[in-house]
Symmetry: C2
Subunit: 324 residues, 2 copies
DNA sequence: TTGTAGGCGTTATCAC
DNA sequence: GTGATAACGCCTACAA
């Protein structure tokens, strides 16, 4: 491996001069600098990240931790992070699985963005306590080294519920996400509040886990006890798609956008292939990722940060039929 | 930051003893070892990855480089890599974008798996020349430090073409991928060979770029010059889906699985929502990733490796109608 | 302007 | 079995 020592020897200067020249320190004369640069290029020199990191105590790498790599959902989110980070000279690496958690305490990365329920709150607090900078997208956690960038889940769930109720639905089904999902829990809180305000509305809660499979299962359950018309709020689009396909494939007489009104949450890409177009709650995944990255860099630079919120909006689609 | 030096002081031993104890070297007595471990735990010690890496010249991290983070396509592939790597004590990080290429020459990672046309052959050869270990999934590149794990694109394209011709199609449309895609070029070679063997078959080549948008465009073009029946081979499923939706949405009288026979390539998840189910070429993405990871680790361990091939098979679906 | 030297946290080679 | 000590490659006072 060619190191600055080799360059120094070859260029006939000391290693510190090489270091200065490579880092553009103005103390070195243009001539020596040029010479050093030339030799460096000739020897095909590349700095050693580990050595620099050891000395400078920073890696210029940020880690994004996800539950899994599956799910088209993440694409835009990561793209948003990457653009911000690259612009500021940082690299983004994407990790998944418990084994890779070590990268943070071992100081391989300068900070982390967390969207993975596999991290326990305790673990994250411990990292924060050690001085690591974190941005969490999937929980509320209060610590000076932890910033939250959360979806406005409650507003979204309210929009969805109000849409169904406002279009005259008096019988509702709610398909929940997994119990360990922050987003699901938040959405359910808003759902329950809305239901409390509307005692005239009858609601059935169906446990789901955010997968298409449980959406199908929910569809079966709903059809079996069918009696007229109803509105269904699936707490994410994956489940709404599962339900949608169950109805389409089962040959049931219950049709989306007619007898059954359907609304989801997330506005994932797949929706664009469905006819009728499902109603859903939209937000910018790109902006979510970008915001998370910005907040993290701010913390690293020692600037003050406040928790941020990603706003949501209603997309009505063609899947909700007016009943009044 | 608490280092082994702190542990040494606290435990009343030398730093080398601490290092031995932490690494389970049997030279140290159980008592001292226990003491050291206890102090380490008490002080909340975590090793510094940069320091170890600088000394040992390895990071136990493998990088996967992708064109972008979008595309559900990558999920299974990455999962396959991760499982193999984790089992062997390595971590997987996923990167995208030119900026992150530095991680390889700066020795932040012990090897890389490449599926990204943004890397030029020259760049990869240069890395290999420096002694970095690479596995490429998207090109043929011959160098002792580079291993290929490639799809059997030609076999797949042959299967698709034979299926269309064997079911009696004499008029074919071929929708290609982008010119810089290795997979597309390989598939086209096989397509041309098959056409040469079947002079009775009339074929129209339509330029595409593997996106759904060009699939739609191809659909429009095909319908405009429609005259009876035809078979369409889209060189990937994304384009097949685009074409499929164009026909469905445009209200054209040309129906998939009836007048128009359709076959794609990749067997991506989205297909399962289409009715009729498109024919396609299948292969295990999980196995592809796992194989790439295995080959890379073998190279790192200095074992000999041969180029590998991922086999493909035909899924007939309901989108190809027999004409004879 | 350039060189000397110490240190970042580990590992590993020696002595003892 | 344990302890100095010298690397690994780079940065940066401080000295010259």
């Amino acid at each position: 491996m060619v190191s600055i020592k080799d360059i120094a020897r070859e260029a006939g200067v000391s290693i510190s001069t090489v270091s200065y020249a490579l880092n553009g320190n103005p103390k070195v004369t243009p001539e020596t600098s040029a010479k050093v640069l030339a030799v460096a290029k000739e020897l095909n020199y590349r700095p050693n990240a580990a050595a620099r990191q050891l000395k400078k105590q920073e890696s210029l790498i940020i880690g994004a931790f996800l539950t899994d790599f599956i799910g088209a959902f993440y694409g835009e989110l990561l793209q948003g992070m990457k653009e911000v980070l690259n612009r500021k000279g940082y690299d983004l690496i994407v990790c998944s699985g418990k084994q890779s958690h070590r990268l943070l305490p071992e100081r391989m990365i300068d900070g982390a963005i967390i969207l993975d329920a596999a991290f326990s709150d305790a673990e994250l607090l411990e990292f924060a306590e050690r001085g690591h900078r974190l941005v969490v997208l999937d929980r509320e956690l209060h610590h000076p080294e932890i910033n939250q960038v959360l979806l406005d889940n409650k507003a979204g769930a309210n929009l969805a519920m109000d849409h169904l109720i406002g279009t005259g639905h008096r019988k509702l089904y709610i398909v929940t996400g997994p119990a360990d999902s922050f987003d699901s829990r938040q959405r359910m809180i808003a759902v329950r509040q809305t239901l409390d305000r509307h005692p005239e509305v009858e609601a059935v809660i169906i446990e789901g886990d955010f997968t298409q499979a449980t959406g199908e299962r929910a569809g079966r359950q709903i059809v079996e006890s069918w009696d007229g018309t109803a509105g269904v709020f699936c707490l994410n689009d994956e489940m709404a798609i599962g339900l949608y396909h169950f109805l389409a494939d089962s040959g049931s007489s219950v049709r989306v956008g007619e007898e059954l009104s359907l609304i989801g949450f997330d506005n994932i890409d797949l929706l664009r292939y469905l006819q009728p177009r499902p109603a859903t709650i939209d937000y910018s995944k790109h902006r979510w990722g970008a915001m998370a990255a910005e907040q993290l860099l701010r913390m690293i630079q020692g600037e003050p940060v406040e928790h941020e919120r990603i706003y949501v909006s209603l997309i009505t689609g063609d899947s909700v039929k007016r009943r009044n």
